[in-house]
Symmetry: C2
Subunit: 366 residues, 2 copies
């Protein structure tokens, strides 16, 4: 199946789902739903790009005139409607939606400024997030998508393995961050999405951004990095220590490895998302660190770095073949250090398919 | 005035503006309004970060627990309210907004998924984009902000000047893009926002992204690049040609330089935004290329790469001292090449203050 056929098939499934939910029109702008259904990604700017996909009609992609040259024509997937600098794109979209629309789904990441204006322009339509239509489609990856995720995972595996041979001590987090970023690109990603380098106390902040802090002897360093390769995301966390780790660090890390390993094995088809989360949480709690595991166990991954399904308490969704997600328990000691270990896993009928293969033991670096 | 005092003063002005507009609560998430008023930037992720700033009460910053360590406390600017993975942040925000709110302003770039849920949770409140409150504040840069923009401009000036001595021919656009990006960081930016390298026919696509195309002898190359330095954005476009330019290329470029120069000189206090646009457009039209100048003349710049004021037909706003914006006319020949020339200018009582100083003549490169 070539891309045009694939896009047509995906749009057909989106229309089926719209039928089920009685949604008249799907409106997509920034975010991954648009490339999923059209192959085109909107620029996150103040000039509106929006796909208007009616349940029973042809899709129209509304694009600023100056960005039209970026759009690869997809005759089966959409017709192009450009707007010039003195036209109002909201009026164009509202005209395409039409006055009869009663139920509209709009891309989850669409900017509020556009949402509010479209609501004013089609006041009779009730608005829903587009994910009610698209998430059930996107959450199940087909074999091509799984292989794209696998290729991206192997690329960051190579980065993780290479960094084990590199010095950390005496360098700033930012300098190490730059090296991770460069290597992510060198290994074939088109984009770096993040490269967290959390050294010493900074590692206790799960979403720490690399800073000017100089990495010291004895520091534990959380490295969580990923990007986008051929449209699909990678995401991996590996742990580094400068010099010999203390007994405490070794013990905490052994517990984390155990929790992660059990959670990966638990990620079988039919198991609920929250049960996988509970598996990791139970082991860390039994080790005495339950209150230091302050986030969910994982998130789905695909065209977006974070998407459905989320491995979190309260999510009773059973895993299906093709669900792709991170498994990344963490243990954090404010003011001292943090640890996290993360791989991407795909649920399959043959059991959990762990995409990452970079060494998982503590990397002792200079 | 230290940052805490500055944030308090900005919040006081936001509250005055809310009084004028009878807006009860301001809700800010991703985007630049939040750092402008709190010094904190929300992560663009599925976990909601939101400032709740009531007209007559204290500001509360609602933040995911795992991101709380990233938040620098600002006792005068906000109190922190963290939410754990099993709490619902929408309910927390709705509780803080309160049932009496009738008019709420929400950050222009807030994701639709949050906008729709907040609308459901506070159904009696009419929603407006936050820019009705914040734009009149942010559009006038104070002297500290102008100096931050100037420093960022000088950094990309240095990149532009350096690249005049570098080879272009035989390299891919992506490779040159990487070099621009690296140099933007080396010159002190914390983030690269874009580095357009549009060679030959790709230059006719104003928002072209660097591709695998190899730059050829004779190619005209549009290089439009910028980043964020100490929170403020840079943005500059310079033109490169591989080898001797043709007479046509020289003529078109001379016309463009003339149009840009006159538009810069026209950007005096009291002149309308659309009059500056018209100045550039008139000169290009007189040269015979009016239909090839397919975008507005410029955009405001500050904490965001694109913000008010926009230099576009229909915008009658008169320029005020402290307005900062790009002046970037372009001429595009589909299938052949494009040209654009851009500087950042600040309107001041002493006349237009052009921040960029990198050489503006065609750079002839190898």
């Amino acid at each position: 199946m070539d891309l045009n056929e694939q896009l047509a098939a995906r749009q057909a499934r989106a229309r089926e789902r719209m039928d089920e939910l009685a949604i008249d029109v799907l409106l997509l702008s920034v975010g991954a739903d648009l490339p999923y259904l059209t192959g085109y990604e909107a620029m996150p700017l103040e000039r509106l790009t929006m796909l208007v996909l009616p349940r029973g009609g042809e899709s129209i992609l509304v694009v600023p005139e100056l960005e039209a040259p970026r759009v690869e024509p997809r005759p089966g997937a959409f017709e192009l409607r450009t707007w010039s600098e003195t036209e109002d794109p909201i009026a164009i979209v509202a005209g395409l939606v039409g006055p009869a629309a009663r139920s509209v789904a709009i891309g989850d990441q669409t900017w509020a400024r556009f949402v509010l204006r479209i609501q004013d322009a089609v006041p009779a339509a009730r608005m829903h997030p587009a994910s009610v239509v698209t998430s059930p489609l996107r959450v199940v990856k087909d074999s091509t998508e799984v292989e794209a995720l696998r290729a991206a995972a192997h690329a960051v595996d190579a980065v993780g393995a290479e960094m084990r041979g590199r010095p950390f001590g005496g360098r700033t987090e930012l300098d190490i961050h730059r090296e991770f970023s460069d290597r992510i690109l060198e290994h074939g990603h088109e984009r770096v999405n993040f490269a967290i380098v959390g050294s010493g106390p900074n590692g206790a902040s799960p979403h720490h951004e690399a800073s000017a802090r100089v990495v010291n002897d004895g520091d534990v360093v959380v490295c969580d990095f990923g990007g986008t390769m051929d449209g699909y995301c990678s995401d991996i966390t590996r742990m580094f220590v400068v010099g010999e780790p203390s007994a405490e660090v070794r013990d905490v890390y052994d517990l984390l490895v155990d929790a992660q390993e059990h959670a990966v094995r638990a990620a079988t088809v039919g198991t609920s998302c929250e049960a996988v989360d509970a598996t990791a949480r139970r082991i860390i709690a039994a080790g005495g660190y339950g209150d230091r595991f302050i986030h969910r166990t994982g998130h789905g991954i695909g065209l977006e770095a974070h998407e459905d399904p989320y491995l979190v308490s309260g999510n009773r969704t059973p895993l299906e073949p093709g669900h792709a997600f991170s498994i990344e328990p963490g243990i954090y000691f404010p003011g001292r250090f943090g640890m996290r270990l993360e791989d991407i896993v795909v649920a399959s009928d043959d059991g959990p398919d762990r995409l990452n293969a970079a060494p998982r033991d503590l990397a002792i670096v200079g």
